[in-house]
Subunit: 119 residues, 2 copies
DNA sequence: GCTATTGGTTTCTTTTAAGAAACCACATTT
DNA sequence: AAATGTGGTTTCTTAAAAGAAACCAATAGC
């Protein structure tokens, strides 16, 4: 019976499916992946620089997403004791490991657009 | 000035960023990627089979997501004139091109878990 | 004393995603 | 006649994500 097969298959790859869910949770949302890409492209940036580069993001969303990315060790937050105080954000080594995934997202998206337009 | 540099950089890769957004829109949500993975693992499946394999999805969500995936040519919907009527869902050739991306999501997620647990 | 800059926080509102439950047409089985 | 299986739709409710606007502390410049 097919349903049993499904259950068996699902049972065999719980870890893999959880891994996919984990990744999706981390990168999904309207701004998170764009924040990462912006930092990858520009290197170290300050809060207001990011806000302007991301054109349209609310300060609340930016600080919220930055905190989330920091908790997950994808970006680094460094407070500079200047006057007024400035804060520098940059990608961590672990964050940089997202580049393959981001390339894949990009390549697939470009190809998908062709596929959808074609027909 | 740094802000100008950012604007220039952003200007140079509008297409790429749009491609990333496109892909994210297509795969984000709680169930869509799981539907694709389930169909990749099991081949052709009927509505009720999918519903049971996805353990917990509401019929409304399943039919909504299936329609969305079909519109984007990732899955194929085939009505079989049996009694009672049955409907078969399967991945299209284009949908199958998601496998690299899915592997990348999985690999990154597995590695991320190690990274987070480690420290 | 007034205004601007920096990096936020707080509060409130709107939009979007998701879930639960009931319903439906059609056909078969009991 | 009633129940069952199939593939949904409809309606209502809840939860989560996102946006807008006001506010704030510290400091500097005018």
């Amino acid at each position: 019976m097919k349903l049993d097969d499904n259950l068996v298959l699902s049972g065999q790859c719980v870890q893999q499916i959880l891994a996919i869910k984990d990744t999706m949770e981390l990168i999904s949302g309207k701004w998170k992946i764009l924040i990462v890409v912006t930092l990858l492209l520009n290197g170290t940036m300050r809060f207001m620089e990011l806000k302007k580069a991301l054109n349209g993001i609310a300060a609340k969303k930016l600080s919220y997403d930055l905190r989330n990315l920091e908790i997950n060790k994808l970006i680094d937050r460094k407070v500079i004791k200047s006057k007024p105080i400035t804060v520098e954000y940059s990608i961590t080594a672990h964050g940089r490991t997202l580049d393959n995934l981001i390339s894949e997202l990009m390549d697939w998206g470009l190809n998908h657009r062709k596929e959808i337009i074609r027909n």
